[in-house]
């Protein structure tokens, strides 16, 4: 049980990293909503996922 709990916990960190990569991709390469407001939104949304994979928050 401890193993699976640890595994699930690690998977959530991996998912946080994937979401971060997804935001970064949309920040630099996206086809719709190309305004600066969306640039700010995608960049800002990276913050919590970055802090999570760095094991800070």
């Amino acid at each position: 049980m401890l193993f699976f709990e640890k595994l699930i916990h690690i998977l959530y960190f991996v998912m946080a990293g994937l979401v971060l990569l997804c935001f970064l991709k949309h920040l630099f390469k996206r086809k719709k909503n190309n305004g600066i407001v969306f640039d700010i939104m995608y960049a800002y949304c990276c913050i919590p996922f970055l802090l999570r994979i760095l094991y800070i928050k």
Binding site: G35, D39, C46, I56, K57
Partner: protein, 405 residues
């Protein structure tokens, strides 16, 4: 509008804008991250009383807790004279910091002449490493002393999601099977009696139960704080086997010092210390609640002074309207010395009545009381960790051993 703007911007310029925006956000992340990191890694100190004889760890009792952020120190004062054993457990919910402060006063000033005293100053170490998600409030509060200002953390109610995540849709307490709110899987005082192969919070809960079992604790005291809009504030909660002592202590305190109600622990409400410590150990458990207006939901801004002074006009209006469960007076508030002092005298009163009910119990120990803190302030009983004469008695409270910072 955005498409028009985009058409006017060259790809190279657009890329530079994106990089600049990302850089600004990274700077914001660094600023926020510094504060979060500082709170998580902050090491509190205290100057141990000369009666301290041994420091153990929760992982000594439940090895699967070792290396996790829920491990923590257990301080033992052994008088060397046979007698009863008392557990003073604080910080099960670190956003109730007067309980932790009262434990420091005990740790720095305890005199144990018969029996043993065990103090766990922060029972939920991981929850002590973050603030409450979504609640903007200060990371630290400060206590004035004769030798300067001492800084202490304000934590959270729940185990940090960095250490235990995700939560289930419904938390099922082990072994009762009782269903509780999903976030209570990270609430130490809903996961008793715990289990060795469970979540980090369940392992921490089991470690405390094992402290009680393996150290043959007779009196186990769990220190909390509560909103004054919550009925169980300013109260002892005790199960059947310790209810008589709690009632006598409550009546005496209410008649002589401060209001202290008494509630019986519901038999069917599982996961809480006052129920599971009674059912899974031989100890007599007592849970104590002081009034902490900082965590009431209708206050003004949650500032440091609200934590340390507890003065709020909205709670005064609610009290005037008969909506609170504590005779709140804004002019006095609920200052830190008052709340810590309540815990200190609340525990001493329990020991007094426990000895009265069972003279063979053999517990003789003391520490500063409510009256002492009222007269001198709480800072008077905290010693300077930088003073040369205290150097050898400084202890760091952290999730792993710290020799020196």
């Amino acid at each position: 509008m955005t498409d028009k703007t985009q058409k006017k911007t060259s790809p190279k310029k657009s890329l530079i804008i994106k990089i600049v925006i990302l850089a600004i956000c990274l700077v914001l992340a660094a600023i926020a991250g510094k504060d979060f990191w500082e709170l998580r890694h902050y090491k509190e100190t205290f100057v141990a009383s000369e009666d301290l004889t041994e420091v153990k760890w929760l992982s000594d009792y439940v090895p699967s807790l070792k290396g996790t952020w829920n491990d923590g120190p257990v301080y033992i004062f052994d008088s060397g004279v046979p007698g009863g054993t008392v557990l003073y457990e604080a910080g099960p919910h670190p956003y109730e910091p007067a309980s932790i402060l009262s434990a420091y006063v005990v740790l720095e000033n305890a005199k144990v002449t018969k029996g043993r005293l065990i103090v766990i100053p922060v029972a939920s170490m991981s929850a002590w490493t973050e603030g409450m998600c979504g609640d903007a409030y200060p990371m630290f509060y400060h206590i004035e002393t004769e030798w300067g200002t001492k800084q202490y953390k304000i934590g959270d109610r729940y185990t940090n999601p960095l250490d235990q995540w995700p939560d289930p849709f419904t938390y099922v307490n082990y072994p009762s099977g009782q269903q509780l709110a999903y976030q209570d899987i990270r609430n130490l005082n809903r996961t008793y009696p715990g289990r060795a192969n469970g979540t980090q919070t369940e392992r921490a809960a089991l470690a405390i139960v094992e402290v009680i079992r393996q150290e043959n604790v007779d009196i186990a005291i769990d220190c909390h704080e509560a909103e004054i809009l919550y009925p169980v504030t300013s109260t002892y909660v005790a199960p059947e086997k310790s209810l008589d002592i709690a009632m006598m202590a409550g009546m005496n305190l209410s008649a002589t010092q401060f209001l202290m109600k008494c509630e019986a622990s519901p038999k069917g409400l599982h996961g809480l210390s006052h129920r599971e410590w009674a059912d899974y150990t031989d100890a007599m458990p007592f849970l104590m609640e002081t009034p902490e207006v900082f965590i009431d939901k209708i206050t003004g801004p949650r500032t440091e002074s609200l934590m340390t002074e507890g003065k709020d006009e909205f709670l005064q209006k609610a009290t005037d309207a008969g909506l609170t469960y504590f005779p709140y007076e804004e002019d006095f508030g609920t200052p830190m010395w008052y709340r810590a002092g309540r815990h200190l005298s609340g525990a001493l009163e329990i020991l007094f009545w426990a000895n009265q009910f069972d003279p063979d119990l053999g517990i003789e120990m003391t520490w500063p009381s409510y009256s002492d803190l009222e007269a001198n302030g709480v800072g008077y009983y905290l010693h300077d960790p930088e003073a040369p004469e205290n150097k050898d008695r400084v202890q760091y409270v952290y999730h792993e051993p710290v020799d020196k910072v």
